[in-house]
Amino acid sequence: MLLYLFYILSAITVGCALLTIFSKNPVYSVLFVIATFFSIAGHFILLNAQFLAIVQVIVYAGAIMVLFLTVLMYLNLNKSVESSKPLLIKIAAMVSGGLLFLVLIASFKSGLSIAPTSVRGDAGLIKNLGNTLFTEYLFPFEATAVLFLSTMAGAITLTRKK
């Protein structure tokens, strides 16, 4: 039963991802990418990673994509003004993407047959996750502060007009 759910979700994921990159209008792209992120959150729930599923919705669909939309509107890019690339380049792009898919699949083919050793489905529970994050991974957690500080200063300096 869950397997069918997986297939349905996967179809939504891949379909929305494809629509994202093929939509003419950037606003549609944003909406499709949000749908993709929601379906990935669904996958997370399937994998029993509830916390990440919530964060995925809040951070990606909520914060990041809203930022995208804001910039789209702010820069007035919501029309499909993009001149399309020549057909040859489009074909080349598709072929390259397809080749990459094939080569990656081929590279990891023998890895695919390896069965997981120890399955413990509760890794994604908030309790376990919090435990790991604030003991073992406390330092990187703190270190992200530097990253954010730098980002904040950078974003402000870059966008501020003289």
Partner: protein, 455 residues
């Protein structure tokens, strides 16, 4: 770890100092003094108590490279006088972001867990994206930032994909854990090798090795001079130190599985870097391509890591950073960010500023790898390390292309000693940084043991 905190705090101080107009004038002095103090501290406290050894292992390797990065950064801050005058209000911010870049660099050279490697790379890169675009009034600066960001984020995707596969195979992000896994597993799964290759691709991008070098010339040329000098020296050294640390720590035992891929990249890097540099007319772009070419030689040390080539890498890094920083210091002294500075504009320097001309010659000779300058021993050591490991063909290519390299460095020297187009006034002054860099190139060339006995 203490060093990391101190550098970050210095960055915060700089951010706040930038707010007040009176303090802003002294920010640079404060930072230089602070960095010198921190450098001293690094040298004396490298074996102090470790707090999160499973995340950051501040071992000798990390301490030595941290010192190198701090020294380079200090010199760049010395050099950065008047470099951010175009945007007076944000001066403190730029200084602060540069210090956060250094903090990211320190994470990258001392990580013992892929999480820290990733965060270090991102802290460094995200800060650099900002810095590359810090000349907001110049389109080329924006273009540089944009290209750097787009391609950098793209490469990060590959790096992360690789990390995910490594995690899938080993179940851990710790470098020593991966190493143990490699030791204890007789038949490694294919996803492991695929992961190594993808990580390598991500790191090859960061060190600007071909065919992932495309961003480097454009970003180097478009960024403000001071930022370019920072990227070409401190950042490049950091990226190599991290590359070497990861591969010698985790993947050394499977090097026969990834060395072919690396050889392809080195060959392309050497050819593209050296030959394209030959066709350049702008000094900054020439230095950018020379940076790519030098990445090829430094990758030889990574290739030969089975036989501990960290000495060779360290020596090469220092000699390259000194020469490159010196060249950029000269560039900064003769040009501004707005126009492209042609090599032919160097004409007459031997008349107008003989002292700087001589120092610049020393620096260029070191770059070209002419003994007894440091550059020669750098090349000598990475090559002999690679030859010792049996990588003969690629070493031969490296020797051949280094001869091409000599040609374009001599083109610069020839320009320096050519007659000026117009009468010039003679003055004998050179930035202290040019002095120091030329001095380092000479001294560690005459006495390489100074560096080599560090490990």
């Amino acid at each position: 770890m203490n060093i990391l905190i101190l550098v970050s705090v210095l960055g915060v101080i700089s951010l706040f100092a930038g707010l007040s107009e009176s303090l802003r004038q002294h920010t640079r002095t404060i930072i230089v003094a602070g960095l010198i103090a921190i450098t001293g501290l690094t040298m004396f406290t490298w074996n102090a108590k470790q707090f999160f050894p499973e995340m950051l292992n501040f071992d000798k390797y990390a301490a030595v490279f941290t010192t190198v990065i701090l020294v380079i950064s200090t010199l760049i801050f010395v050099l950065s006088k008047d470099q951010f005058n175009h945007d007076e209000i944000h001066k403190g911010d730029y200084y602060g972001i540069m210090l956060f870049t250094v903090a990211g660099a320190i994470m990258m050279v001392s990580f013992s867990n892929l999480t820290m490697l990733f965060l270090g790379i991102e802290t460094l890169s995200v800060s650099l994206y900002t810095l590359a675009g810090s000349r907001k009034d110049l389109l080329k600066s924006s273009e540089a930032a944009f290209k750097y960001f787009l391609l950098g984020a793209f490469a990060t995707g590959f790096l992360l994909f690789g990390i995910a596969f490594i995690y899938g195979a080993t179940g851990t992000f710790s470098v020593s854990g991966i190493s143990d896994y490699v030791h204890n597993t007789p038949q490694l799964p294919a996803i492991f090798y695929g992961g190594v290759i993808l990580i390598m691709i991500g790191l090859l991008f960061k060190v600007s090795a071909a065919p992932f070098h495309f961003w480097a010339p454009d970003v180097y040329e478009g960024s403000p001079n001071i930022i370019t000098s920072f990227m070409a020296t401190a950042v490049k050294v950091t990226a190599f130190a991290a590359f070497y640390r990861l591969f010698s720590g985790a993947f050394v035992d499977v090097n026969e599985k990834w060395d072919n891929a690396l050889i392809i990249a080195i060959a392309l890097t050497l050819l593209i870097g050296n030959f394209t540099a030959l066709a350049q007319t702008g000094l900054k772009r020439l230095l950018a391509y020379s940076g790519i070419a030098n990445a090829g030689y430094m990758l030889l040390a990574v290739l030969a890591l089975k036989n501990d080539a960290s000495n060779a890498l360290l020596y090469y890094s220092i000699s390259y950073a000194a020469a490159s920083l010196g060249a950029f210091a000269v560039l900064i002294s003769v040009s501004d960010d707005e126009k492209t500075f042609e090599i032919s504009s160097l004409k007459g320097m031997s008349k107008s500023n003989p002292l700087q001309a001589v120092l610049f010659t020393i620096i260029m000779l070191s770059m070209a790898g002419i003994p007894p300058m440091a550059g020669f021993f750098g090349k000598y050591m990475v090559l002999s390390a690679a030859i010792k490991e049996g990588y003969l063909a690629i070493s031969l290519l490296a020797i051949l292309t280094s001869l091409v390299g000599i040609y374009y460095y001599f083109k610069v020297i020839a320009a320096v000693y050519s007659a000026p187009d117009t009468e010039v006034q003679t003055e004998n002054k050179a930035n202290i940084v040019v002095f120091i860099c030329a001095g380092i190139s000479l001294v560690i060339g005459a006495y390489p043991d100074l560096i080599l006995n560090l490990f």
